[in-house]
Each structure stands twice: as structure tokens, then as C-alpha cells.
């Protein structure tokens, strides 16, 4: 009699890896990657729209003029010149930032990991929206927190719920939020809620982590002030060039007060020494001049048309019992389907019908969200979106019929 070991390291893994496992949903996404599947699953920026001649120029000029820097190690904080450009991006949204308070990270995703590493001890409570960005949940989960989930509605995080939790004695280490064009919910936090949240957290001495990847992708209406601009001392701001330029360069950043910033830089250096000088220089040069503004404006128009197509198609093809959010920017529509539908179980049938989405359960740490789905409109063309939503609508209608056949 022998115990077979399929993994000789199995007894060595740290407890924090216990949540890392194979998943049926991920397996289905691998099937959904086929071109005949209309995928609303991934939030992939439409990088095809970037002007190829300009990109070639930018990359060539970096290698021509700065190769000795581009191919070398750099400092953990990222080059000052790039940080100036990133501060400029923040100024576009009216958020002042001192380049000295910025650390450049490998996408904003790395900043989430660094914050987890610096701030979360096992068992610590942290507050997140429900639903919350799945990548943040994964990054934080490795540090074994407990999640205080704060409901979200059409005006963003319901700050009253957070306040009630604080009154009941909750003391989260920090509050994580995506106030603009939320991932996955697509909603934007109202001005009143922003002010309320900032005041509440300042009073309770709980820092806010503001994740703002989509802020510059606004289709209509006036931008709300960033939380950081309302309270620079108590808000850690996370930005990325993934949506205004390209995710492939992996350039994100965090803005924080000096003490926290220093720990983030030290933690980053411990993790990867420094980011890629090559892609940081490409990013810096891309953001010089004004051409990037024109490309971004075109991109925003494209996303707006795609959003319009998705909303119109949902109106036309989704069952009357379904509802969904109406984002004024960003990438995502968050749909609620009849409660007899389990979007996770339905994904296989959806892929069979050549359409994919992300089941709502991914965005809740506690397994809720079975009647929700995230639909990303950023990547498929308008025509494909119409077709994909038609397929999904038909599937939902069939599910309804099937359910009613069994309901008594």
C-alpha cells in the first residue's frame, strides 16, 4: 500500500496557496478562445486601433536613442521622466500628483499585490465592493484577509453600508474601490458617495485604495473628482496605461504618501528589482506630444459605439426579467438574469452556442453572483456584439422555457 504523490511538493506549499486551484470555468475559457466564439469574457483593450506606424516609430526611437538605458536595470521607483508623464495623465482627470510620490509598477495589478504584501496580515479584514474586481480579490487573497463586502448599486459603493459595518465595530485595514466605470459592474460612484466615503474613512483613519484604470474612457457626462483629489493624504491611487495605451507594456503606477510609498518601492525591489526599462521608455515616448490624445479619443469613440451596440442588443434580445447596468464609460455591462439561471453552469451551453461571458461568481469572495454575468463590450465589433447577444438571449429564453417545464 502506497500513497501516490502526484506532486512531490504537496506538503511544502504555504497555506496561502490553498485557494489556488484548477477551475471548470477557466477550462471553458480555453474552448471559448476560438475565433467563432463571440467572447464578452475578457476585458481586452482594442489595441488593433493603435496606429502601427506611430508605434514602430516610438519603439525604434527608443532602441536608437536610449538602448543603453532601455536594456539595463533601473531604479525600483521607475524613471523620473516617466513618472512626470504619469502625473500628467492624472492631471487630465484633475488629480494633482507629485512625480516623487509615484512608484511605477508592472501594471496596476502589481500595485495590488504590493499593497496586500505591505498591509495585510492573515485574518485582517479589508473592505471591497460586492461585486469586486476579480484580479484584486486574487491578489489580496494570497495574503489571507477576511473580506468585508460592501454592496454596490447604480451609484457605486453604498457607503452607508460601510458606515453601518464600522458602527458595528468592523475595522478594515483599507477600503478597496473602483469608483469609475466599475469592473465588473460598469457603474460610477456618485459625487455624494465619494465625499461621504472620503470623510468616513478619514474620520475612521482607514486608508482608501482607489483603482482607476478606466477613468479616461468616458463616453458622456462630466467626470467626478477622483477620491485622491478629494483627500490626497488618505487615498492610495492606482493607475495604468493599459487602457489609454496598451496592456502589453505592463506599465501601471501607485501614488501614495511617502511612508507607504517607500515600503511599496522596497517591496517591489524585493519582488522584481525593477520594471522593464524598455517598455517604460516606450510608454514615456508614446505619451510625449499630442498624438496619443487623438488615438485615445478615437478609441473612446469606438468603445462608445460598442457600448451602444451592446445596450441596444440587450434591449432587443434579453428576456424581460433580465436587467443590466448602463455604463457611461469603461468596458463592462453587468447583467442580472432570472434567479433560476446559474450563469456558471450555463457557460458550457453558451460556449456550445459560440458566445462567452464571465459568470458572476468570479467577482464575489463568498460564492454569490450565480444570477449575474459580466459582459465586456470593448473587444468584439458592433456586428459581432449583436450576434453574440442574440445567441445569449436565445439561450436565456431556452433556459426559461426549460425551467418553467420543471416548475410546479
Amino acid at each position: 500500500m502506497a500513497e501516490l504523490s502526484v506532486d512531490p511538493y504537496v506538503d511544502l506549499y504555504a497555506r496561502r496557496t490553498s485557494g489556488m486551484s484548477a477551475s471548470e470555468v477557466r477550462a471553458l475559457f480555453s474552448v471559448a478562445a476560438r475565433p467563432d466564439v463571440v467572447s464578452f469574457a475578457g476585458g481586452m483593450p482594442y489595441v488593433q486601433a493603435l496606429p502601427p506606424d506611430h508605434l514602430q516609430q516610438v519603439a525604434a526611437s527608443v532602441l536608437r536613442d536610449r538602448a543603453e538605458v532601455a536594456l539595463q536595470y533601473g531604479g525600483g521607483q521607475g524613471a523620473r521622466t516617466l513618472r512626470e508623464r504619469l502625473a500628467m495623465l492624472m492631471a487630465e482627470e484633475g488629480t494633482p500628483a507629485d512625480p516623487e510620490d509615484i512608484v511605477v509598477t508592472t501594471g496596476a495589478q502589481q500595485a495590488l499585490d504590493l499593497l496586500g504584501k505591505i498591509l495585510i496580515d492573515p485574518g485582517d479584514e479589508i473592505a471591497v465592493e460586492a461585486p469586486a474586481y476579480v484580479g484584486a480579490l486574487s491578489a489580496f487573497s494570497a495574503y489571507e484577509p477576511r473580506f468585508l463586502q460592501v454592496e454596490l448599486d447604480d451609484r457605486g459603493m453604498v457607503v452607508e453600508r460601510l458606515e453601518e459595518a464600522l458602527v458595528r465595530g468592523a475595522r478594515p485595514k483599507f477600503v478597496y474601490t473602483v469608483p469609475n466605470f466599475h469592473n465588473p459592474a460598469g457603474v460610477t460612484m456618485s459625487r455624494e458617495r465619494r465625499e461621504h466615503l472620503v470623510a468616513l474613512c478619514r474620520e475612521a483613519r482607514i486608508p482608501i485604495v482607489e483603482d482607476n484604470p478606466y477613468g479616461l474612457l468616458r463616453f458622456e457626462g462630466e467626470p467626478e473628482p477622483t477620491l485622491r483629489s478629494l483627500d490626497p493624504e488618505n487615498v492610495v491611487y492606482l493607475g495604468t496605461v493599459s487602457k489609454v495605451f496598451a496592456p502589453g507594456v505592463r506599465v501601471g503606477w501607485a501614488v501614495a504618501e511617502p511612508g507607504l510609498l517607500q515600503r511599496m518601492i522596497l517591496a517591489k525591489e524585493a519582488g522584481d528589482l525593477c520594471g522593464s526599462n524598455l517598455t517604460m521608455l516606450i510608454t514615456e515616448r508614446y505619451l510625449e506630444g499630442d498624438r496619443w490624445r487623438r488615438s485615445l479619443a478615437d478609441l473612446v469613440q469606438t468603445y462608445r459605439r460598442r457600448r451602444d451596440a451592446m445596450l441596444a442588443a440587450l434591449e432587443r434580445y434579453f428576456p424581460a426579467e433580465a436587467s443590466w447596468t448602463r455604463p457611461s464609460g469603461g468596458f463592462y455591462v453587468w447583467a442580472t438574469v432570472p434567479s433560476y439561471v446559474d450563469t456558471q453552469a450555463m457557460l458550457a451551453a453558451a460556449v456550445e452556442r459560440r458566445v462567452a461571458y464571465v459568470p458572476g461568481t468570479a467577482f464575489f469572495p463568498d460564492g454569490r453572483g450565480r444570477d449575474r454575468m459580466r459582459l465586456a463590450y470593448c473587444f468584439p465589433t458592433e456586428e459581432r456584439t449583436w450576434e453574440g447577444i442574440r445567441r445569449l438571449g436565445e439561450l436565456l429564453a431556452d433556459e426559461g422555457e426549460l425551467y418553467r417545464s420543471m416548475a410546479r
Binding site: L4, V6, E24, D342, S405, R408
Partner: protein, 316 residues
């Protein structure tokens, strides 16, 4: 010159990833054994043209799910006169469809848990929904609800209360056009592997998932499940498992390679809960573990199975 062998893996079924993991491992193993083995994913490259151009001596079928396990690819290979590993089209067709397989096993007196099937068409077109109540009483709860044609525990759920049956049936019907509702046997789970002949059993592999349920995550996350081979069973219980598995393999007409999944109840009685025509060959799969416990390393296992196909080819 070494013989060209196509390892068929990937495909468009929900188990695509699992199949690719099996396929890459098999191809590497066969190359290590001196074959000119390459992976062929029918979802990426045209099957017939590629096989013809490569002049393969045989195909190793590592596809999972519908096209790979229900006889579809096997029929294509028969038409091309390309020898392939595993069972023939008819056996695949019957075995992969849990309804047909259960019918066949029942008729042969093989022990499988009490069961019933619900076809989507019966619900949609015959208004047969109310039958679920009858089924719950006849089969008994708790029950396992699974798609009639799928693998890797995809679309499978456990039902304790009758009121949860419709949701479980809907989940199963996401993967197939029928659902099988089977009484849940609680006890020890083992897998019985077959290489070559049902009469030469491999050691049983005992499955102890840490989560308590051998679901997709428990199957394919290394370390999520403990395995014991041979299984920690009294000799007479192990013998009964082997006997039941052999009867199942014979009843379904399986050849070369197969795996039966067995639940042993509290009284020590084995129940066949599933039989696979294309058992997984990943690093966490059961058949390779059973072979290893018998002293057959993975490359030798792959070569042995392949040679069965090559031997059939030689007779043509």
C-alpha cells in the same frame, strides 16, 4: 526511420485543456520511446489532410468529450484505415452516453446505482417536468445529477432535497441533451484501470479528495486529492471491484485501455458509477497512477497501448 504517430488531443469539447495536457504528455513519452510522435489538435489543424500528409502508422486518441469519446473520431479513422488506440466506434458510442451505458450494464447484471434519465426534449416537448418528483422517490435521495455525455465531473451536482433537483438538471443539461439522476453511493471511491485485457487488472487507485468531493478542481489541482495505490481495501472487496469492473469492460466491448469509476458502499459492495473510453493521462490522472503501481512507467504505458493499435493495423 521511426514510425509516425499522431496524438489526437485538444478538440472543441469543454475538456479541451485536460485533453491537451494528456496529449502533450503522451507525445513526449512516445518520442522518448523512439516514435516520431506529434500532437494533432483537430480544432487547429484539419484532421484528414494532416493524417494523410504525415503518413502516420497509428493515432493515439487522447481527445476527451464528445467528438473524441463518442465514436465520432473513431469512425473517421476507420474510414481512413488508420489504426488507433482504444475502443471501436460502437463501444465508444454506448460507453460515452451514460444512459446507453447504464442500460447495457443493467441488462448484463453489472451493479450500478439505481438511476433514471431526463431528456431535455421530454421536458420541453412532452411537458414531462412533473416526472422529477417520481424520479426523486424512485431513485432516492441524496442523488447525483450528471450530464449524459460529458466527463471530468463537469456539470455534475449532488442533490439532497427534491426542491433542488430542477437546478441540478439545468446544470447538467448545459453540457448535454439529457441528464442522468443516480442514487448517491457514499463510501470509498476507487478507480479500476484496464490495459489490454479485462482479465489482467491493474491495482485499484483509491481517491480521497481533501474537499470531500472529487470535482473538477480536486481532479486537476495537484495536491487537492490524496491517492492510494493499491487501494486500502480488504482483499475480498478489492477482488469484487476487479470482477465488477471486468464485467463492465466486457459488457461494453472495450479494448486497449479504459477506466471504471467505482463507489464502495458501507457494506463493502462495489457500484460502477462511470466507465471511460479515453481515460485521462495527465499528471494527476488515475490510469497512469494505476499503471505506476503495477510497475509500468508512463512511457511504457503509452507504448504498450500504442502497440495494441499498431498490431491491429498490421492485420489489415
Amino acid at each position: 526511420m521511426s514510425e509516425a504517430v499522431a496524438v489526437l488531443a485538444g478538440g472543441r469539447a469543454p475538456e479541451r485543456e485536460v485533453s491537451l495536457r494528456s496529449g502533450h504528455r503522451i507525445a513526449a513519452a512516445l518520442r522518448a520511446r523512439g516514435f516520431d510522435a506529434f500532437l494533432l489538435d483537430p480544432a487547429e489543424r484539419p484532421l484528414v489532410e494532416t493524417l494523410s500528409a504525415a503518413r502516420v502508422s497509428a493515432c493515439y486518441v487522447a481527445l476527451h468529450g464528445k467528438e473524441g469519446e463518442d465514436g465520432t473520431v473513431q469512425r473517421v479513422l476507420e474510414q481512413l484505415d488508420v489504426p488507433y488506440t482504444g475502443s471501436g466506434p460502437f463501444s465508444c458510442h454506448v460507453t460515452f452516453d451514460k444512459i446507453l451505458a447504464k442500460e447495457a450494464l443493467d441488462a448484463a447484471g453489472v451493479a450500478t446505482p439505481p438511476w433514471a434519465a431526463v431528456q431535455e426534449a421530454a421536458l420541453r416537448d412532452l411537458g414531462a417536468g412533473p416526472i422529477l418528483g417520481h424520479i426523486a422517490r424512485r431513485v432516492g435521495l441524496p442523488a447525483v445529477v450528471k450530464p449524459s455525455r460529458a466527463g471530468s465531473a463537469m456539470g455534475l451536482s449532488f442533490v439532497e432535497r427534491e426542491v433542488d433537483l430542477p437546478a441540478a438538471v439545468m446544470s447538467a443539461l448545459s453540457f448535454a441533451d439529457s441528464a442522468v439522476i443516480e442514487r448517491r453511493v457514499v463510501g470509498t471511491e476507487v478507480a479500476a484501470g484496464m490495459i489490454g485485457s479485462p482479465d489482467e487488472p491493474l491495482p485499484l487507485v483509491e481517491i480521497v479528495p481533501k474537499s470531500g468531493v472529487f470535482d473538477y478542481a480536486s481532479r486537476y489541482t495537484a495536491g487537492a486529492t490524496e491517492y492510494f495505490a493499491p487501494a486500502r481495501l480488504p482483499p475480498e472487496v478489492a477482488a469484487a471491484c476487479h470482477e465488477e469492473a471486468a464485467r463492465a469492460f466486457r459488457t461494453l466491448g472495450l479494448r486497449d485501455v479504459s477506466r471504471a469509476d467505482i463507489m464502495i458502499d458501507a457494506g463493502g459492495r462495489p457500484w460502477i458509477v462511470d466507465v471511460n473510453v479515453s481515460p485521462g493521462m495527465t499528471d494527476t490522472s488515475l490510469l497512469p497512477m494505476a499503471a505506476q503501481a503495477a510497475g509500468i512507467e508512463f512511457p511504457a504505458l503509452c507504448e504498450r497501448v500504442l502497440r495494441m493499435a499498431l498490431a491491429r493495423g498490421a492485420r489489415h
